[in-house]
């Protein structure tokens, strides 16, 4: 992330210097303003949904629901921390339902628990699942197409759903393979080293 940040920052600053030196600070302040506004709307969503989820938790309903997702989530995220898996399960369900603003607080909580336990794989997997999330109903797109005078604004629903199915599957598979490779490579190297010493010893 540090490398991406530095590269984009320096390149854009350079372009601004060449074309439009006045626009540089304006563009940055524009980004800052967006962050401040977004924080307010995030806070609004957190207020509603964190209250909602606390009631869900205290009523015992969350445990009931999560008991069903727990085995699947545990296997997918390779963790046995009940509370974190509960958050993760609720995060994924809220994402599927498309409840606006609801998945983030749960996902952030689950991720920070996974990271505190040093379970990098679970944190990465939950992030990838959220960043490739299934779209059951792309409401923003449908509204925009309606505004642009489309004859049947909702007819992109099926290709969008299938495409997110592809991206989710690809994300899970890629992370799984990357993790396999990470564990497998050091073992291979160790094996090769051992074999190497074995061969060298033989003549003596």
């Amino acid at each position: 992330m540090n490398a991406i940040f530095a590269a984009i920052f320096l390149l854009s600053a350079l372009l601004f210097l060449l074309h439009d030196p006045d626009g540089f600070l304006a563009a940055m302040l524009d980004g800052g303003e967006k962050a401040a506004l977004l924080c307010l709307s995030l806070l609004a969503a957190y207020c509603v949904w964190l209250g909602f989820f606390k009631v869900l938790e205290k009523s015992g309903l969350a445990q009931g629901l999560a008991r069903r997702t727990l085995p699947v989530m545990g296997k997918l995220l390779r963790s046995d921390d009940r509370e974190a898996l509960l958050y993760a399960g609720e995060n994924i369900s809220a994402n599927l339902l498309g409840l606006p603003g609801a998945p983030t607080p749960l996902g952030v909580k689950a991720t920070s628990r996974f990271l505190a336990q040093g379970n990098r794989y679970a944190a990465d997997m939950l992030f990838v699942l959220n960043a490739t999330s299934l779209q059951l109903l792309p409401t923003t797109v449908i509204a925009l197409r309606l505004a642009a005078g489309s004859a049947s604004p909702a007819d992109i629903f099926l290709p969008t759903l299938l495409a997110t199915l592809v991206s989710s599957a690809a994300g899970v598979l890629l992370l799984f393979l990357a993790d396999k490779a990470k564990r497998f490579l050091p073992q291979m190297r160790k094996l090769e080293r051992r074999r190497g010493t074995h061969v060298r010893r033989r003549p003596s």
Binding site: M1, I8, F9, S12, A13, L15, G23, F24, A27, G31, K34, A35, A36, L38, C39, L50, G51, F52, K54, V55, L56, K58, S59, G60, L61, L97, P105, G107, V108, K109, S112, L115, A116, A123, D124, F127, N130, A131, T132, L137, P138, T139, T140, V141, L144, R145, A148, S150, S152, I156, P159, T160, L162, A163, V166, S167, A170, G171, L174, L175
Partner: protein, 170 residues
Amino acid sequence: MNPVAYVIPLLFLCLFAFALVRRVKLYDCFTEGVKEAVPLLLSIFPYLAAILILSSLFEASGLAGMLSRLIAPCLKFLGIPPEISPLVLIKPFSGSGSTALLSEIFSAYGADSYIGRCAACAYGSSETVFYISALYFAGAKKKKLARPIAIALLANFLGVIAACFLCRFL
């Protein structure tokens, strides 16, 4: 009326009624949940600000436009119309920027054209990867984000290719 509109009020109604039956003190419990909102937001804020400032620079400097012209031929090879390449490039950085691009594409090519439908599906099937990474990994002490971000970007890109392919038949 959109039937989806009934989901959220019903959800709250059912849960709160169920909680009352279970003798949960609704007011105390709800406020206890909301208490966590501000610390959670504070932990996220610096990363959110940095990412959004970066996205703003990326778009406004013209860097995004230059890169999208550069990658347009590659995208065409993969079946993605070059007209939507700015959208594909901006989407991981900025939700609002890509929304603006999408409505521009709609007014330029029509919402029901092949390009318009490809753009709609590409927009709908990809996520704002950098923004989500800023939120989710705000608590991470070691910022090893290269692996998850690269995988998420690649997966989203495969989704866009699939979307453009599917738009030819569906």
